[in-house]
């Protein structure tokens, strides 16, 4: 008998994602991969996987899954309403489940994208070195498409033995502070005044936003010359100014090349934060230098590593759901987390 998770309901938009399909952008293949890479990596670590393993990325609501395996270890990252067999259960920890167990993942007050990881990973074919789904080009995942009710996700390995792990905090709250950018590569297509406007404007995430890009509503910005440039490569987080003068943030499923000028680029430490921005949510930008971005990336990496160091087996005598509220380990800004911040340095 094949061990699997049966998809009862995948929620509004769920795909298989790992950390992306790198190395083929020169042939036009988008990277894709988890929008919130930190959250997927944490989910994988909680179930004992390599942190680059593929999991389920769901959007707004996680849906329902049934365990069709003797035993199976799962973890959900994100402050979503999780229940197992109808009983409330904690996210940010691993759960050992038996055949027939029903996992229901509801919504979240603040999270947009959550991750479900399973120990051993899903038996999804590697396509050009990755299991990530790119729905527009129908690559990876299950037939290159979103997950559908009734599908079986086969498991590659049985559940591990030993006590499941937990994070000593379930308070991994997204935040809405400004998104940090480095100006360029086409900053010189814009006047200083336009660049200044970009930083003082308040934008809203347009509902027509997805894994490829967030369209931002707000006052338009005019380039000095043409709205078109001779196409060139697009880095993750590129802020493209399209023909209507509104920015588009190019994210995980972005195309590899494009012909609009890119006024700025979101720094790597803030890309996972953007994954948790909702339609309608306000976005503001602040500029940092390359040196500042390097320092911020170091801090973010250190904060993430410290968080991972805190992952520990559940105490045998604890019911597991009563996890203490702690600092905000992902962004590290809560009181008492001095020096943990990935948000210093501007």
């Amino acid at each position: 008998m094949i061990d699997a998770l049966i998809i009862g309901d995948p929620g509004p938009f769920a795909t298989i994602q790992d950390l992306g399909r790198h190395g083929y952008q020169r042939f036009g293949v988008p990277v894709s991969g988890a929008m919130d890479g930190r959250a997927l990596r944490l989910a994988n670590r909680l179930v004992g996987n390599d942190e680059a393993e593929a999991g389920i990325e769901f959007t707004l609501v996680g849906g329902r899954y049934e365990v069709a395996a003797e035993r199976c270890r799962i973890a959900v990252i994100g402050d979503f309403d999780l229940s197992i067999d109808g009983k409330p259960a904690a996210t940010c920890r691993a759960h050992d489940l038996e055949r027939g167990a029903l996992v229901t993942i509801g919504g979240s007050p603040r999270w947009v994208r959550g991750y479900l990881a399973v120990a051993g990973g899903f038996d999804v074919p590697l396509v050009l070195g990755s299991r990530s789904t790119h729905t527009r080009s129908r690559l990876g995942g299950i037939d290159g498409q979103t997950l559908r009710a009734g599908q079986l996700l086969n498991l590659r390995a049985p559940a591990p033995s030993g006590s499941p792990c937990m994070l000593p905090s379930r308070s991994l709250m997204p935040d809405d502070r400004p998104i940090r950018v480095i100006f360029g590569p086409q900053q010189d297509h814009f006047s200083d005044r336009a660049a200044g406007q970009f930083l003082t404007n308040t934008y809203q995430v347009n509902p027509r936003s997805d894994r490829m890009g967030y369209r931002l509503d707000g006052p338009p910005i005019a380039p000095l010359g043409d709205y078109n440039i001779v196409s060139d490569g697009i880095a993750p987080g590129s802020v493209q100014i399209a023909g209507n003068g509104r920015p588009i943030l190019l994210l995980a499923d972005r195309q590899s090349t494009g012909g609009y000028p890119k006024i700025a680029t979101v720094i790597s430490a803030d890309l996972p934060r953007l994954a948790q921005f909702r339609p309608g949510q306000e976005v503001r930008f602040i500029a940092v230098s390359l040196d500042q971005a390097a320092a911020i990336a170091d801090q973010a990496r250190n904060a993430f590593n410290r968080l991972c160091d805190k992952i520990a087996p559940l105490p045998a005598n604890r019911p597991g759901d009563a996890v203490p509220l702690g600092v905000n380990p992902i962004s590290g800004v809560a009181a008492g987390a001095a020096g943990d911040g990935d948000y210093d340095g501007e």
């Binding site: 790198h22 190395g23 083929y24 952008q25 020169r26 042939f27 036009g28 293949v29 396509v127 050009l128 527009r136 080009s137 129908r138 690559l139 950018v181 480095i182 100006f183 360029g184 590569p185 086409q186 078109n228 440039i229 001779v230 196409s231 060139d232 490569g233 697009i234 880095a235 993750p236 987080g237 590129s238 195309q255 590899s256 090349t257 494009g258 890119k262 680029t265 979101v266 720094i267 790597s268 390359l290 971005a293 390097a294 990336a297 170091d298 990496r301």
Partner: protein, 250 residues
């Protein structure tokens, strides 16, 4: 966009532009120009051969190379220094260039804009086919979608602004033109370009050891074929065969 004449070879002065903290754009110019593109291709080859620790991948385009890197392995300053030393003064001699012959069925259901293009330029459809298939194209860039190949070399007489109203979907294998560019597509895609014809050739097929047929720098000539030949070749291509031919010029 403008095309410079082949004689006005620009100086290989390049700019290093930050594309965030994980990307560095090395820009050789801002126009569509064969000499510029050959500099990019030469530089790309040098960078890949140098195998610089921390460099994840490179994206060559018409006029620049985007180098994507891991900043915790190599900083922007150190990477710029390494790359600066690799910038070529002039393009490599073009050796071992692949010259592809790609079959195309023009017009009708295969190329719904052939009549429009002919009318816009006061040509017959036969003239358009003769011009389009008479030119030698160069693959300047692959982007937009897997295997989507941007070609330079469209005869000036066929340049046509893009459609004001892009189509939400166009067939895989479309042979199209937009502005001064030509293209071969690989998947069903939205497009504002004009569809001249279709090729049965799959420029992207995951079943092959080399899924991507064309590479930047390859040369392409289109060979008109009839609908019956298209269907025959399409059946072969559907079973995984490569139905384009190439020769290597030295």
């Amino acid at each position: 966009m403008t095309i410079r004449s082949a004689t006005a070879a620009p100086q290989p002065v390049c700019r290093f532009l930050p594309a965030g903290d994980t990307g560095l754009t090395v820009e050789f110019g801002d126009v569509i120009d064969e000499h510029l593109n050959r500099l990019v291709v030469t530089f790309d080859r040098q960078v890949r051969q140098a195998d610089i620790p921390g460099v994840i991948e490179t994206i060559p385009s018409y006029r620049s190379l985007l180098v994507l890197y891991e900043p915790q392995v190599i900083g922007a300053g150190a990477l710029t220094d390494r790359l600066r030393a690799l910038v070529p003064d002039h393009p490599d001699d073009q050796k071992d260039i692949r010259r592809w012959q790609i079959p195309v069925t023009y017009g009708g259901a295969y190329g719904m804009d052939l009549d429009f293009i002919a009318k816009s330029h006061d040509l017959t459809t036969g003239d358009v086919i003769a011009l389009h298939s008479g030119a030698l194209y160069r693959v300047y860039m692959i982007g937009f979608a897997p295997g989507f190949s941007y070609l330079g070399g469209l005869p000036a007489a066929l340049r046509t602004p893009r459609r004001a109203d892009p189509r939400l979907t166009t067939p895989a294998g479309s042979v199209s033109l937009g502005g001064e560019q030509a293209a071969v597509s690989s998947l069903e895609l939205p497009s504002g370009w004009h569809m001249l014809g279709r090729t049965p050739v799959r420029t992207f097929d995951l079943r092959r050891d080399r899924p991507f047929l064309l590479d930047v720098g390859d040369l392409v000539r289109f060979v008109p074929v009839g609908a019956a030949e298209f269907e025959r070749l399409d059946t072969l291509a559907a079973s995984g065969e490569i139905v384009a031919e190439f020769e290597v010029t030295r």
